[in-house]
Amino acid sequence: MAEVRKIMTENVIVVSQSASIKNAAKLMKSKSVSSLVVAEKNQPIAVINEIDVIRGFVDKKKYVKDILNKEFIVISPSTKLHEVVKDLKEKKIKKFPVVENQKLVGLITETDVIEATRDFTRFQHIVQDVILIVFGLATAVTLFYLSPLGAAIFK
């Protein structure tokens, strides 16, 4: 199955800990994303999404450092997709920053995984349909060949 590299979002939006919650919200709006990676020296220290921002705002928090969400797992671009699916299901972790050579290079979220799995199964289904058609036709031709009508024609 595919590697993380192929399906990850490469254009990760990074926000600093000292940014205000309002600026984080503005960033989410202008970049049309639901998740922001909070990074320090290119290392992810948290991933925040819309509900973290709302919770912080309702609790009258001011800065991103007050709403850090540490529920994430760092993976590498060569991690296999099925390993991510396993963590999604078993550990209920939905955010996976991708790090290569000490550098943040991408992000995978639950939505990315669902879409990738759907594309993959769609591809499998097309292959299966083609095989079925080939063998179906072969069987039909064989049956015709063996039938009295076929025997008369092929003689």
């Binding site: 309002k22 503005k26 989410m28 709302i54 919770r55 705002f57 309702v58 199964t121 079925l132 063998f135």
Partner: protein, 158 residues
Amino acid sequence: MAKVKKVMLTNVPTLKKEASILDAAKLLVKDGSGCIVILHNNRIPFGIVTELDIVRKVISEGKSLNDHVTDIMNYPVTHVTPNMDLDEALKIIDTKSFRRFPVVENDELVGLVTQKDVVTVISSNLKLHRTIQNAVLVLFILFELFVFIFYKYLGVRR
């Protein structure tokens, strides 16, 4: 084919249309299902407010939390009915850009479905279909093999 009522969430977070944005934000944080249905007269779905609306229309714009929730809600809402087939519901869902749909029966809110839930159930239903297809494929292959061996190697001639 499964119906909408099989996959819908029945415990839908709702607010009256007189509620404030703060009420909506608090309920979103508490409930965690990602959206709130705004009701008219306590029963008819009137609009939907999502996490995205609060972040993009309120927090980033500096809008007051005391304003009416109706200022930021999405409306009119497109709804589905509990006895609709999932295929039919997906057709409606695919024509819209939202992911969450109220389920309405006799002008009353009875549930909520998400695009993700509908798609997941439909694709797991397809699995049975695929298993049958695989069985047919195996039969075809066995038949071809039988014919091949019978006529080629056993030297049987017509």
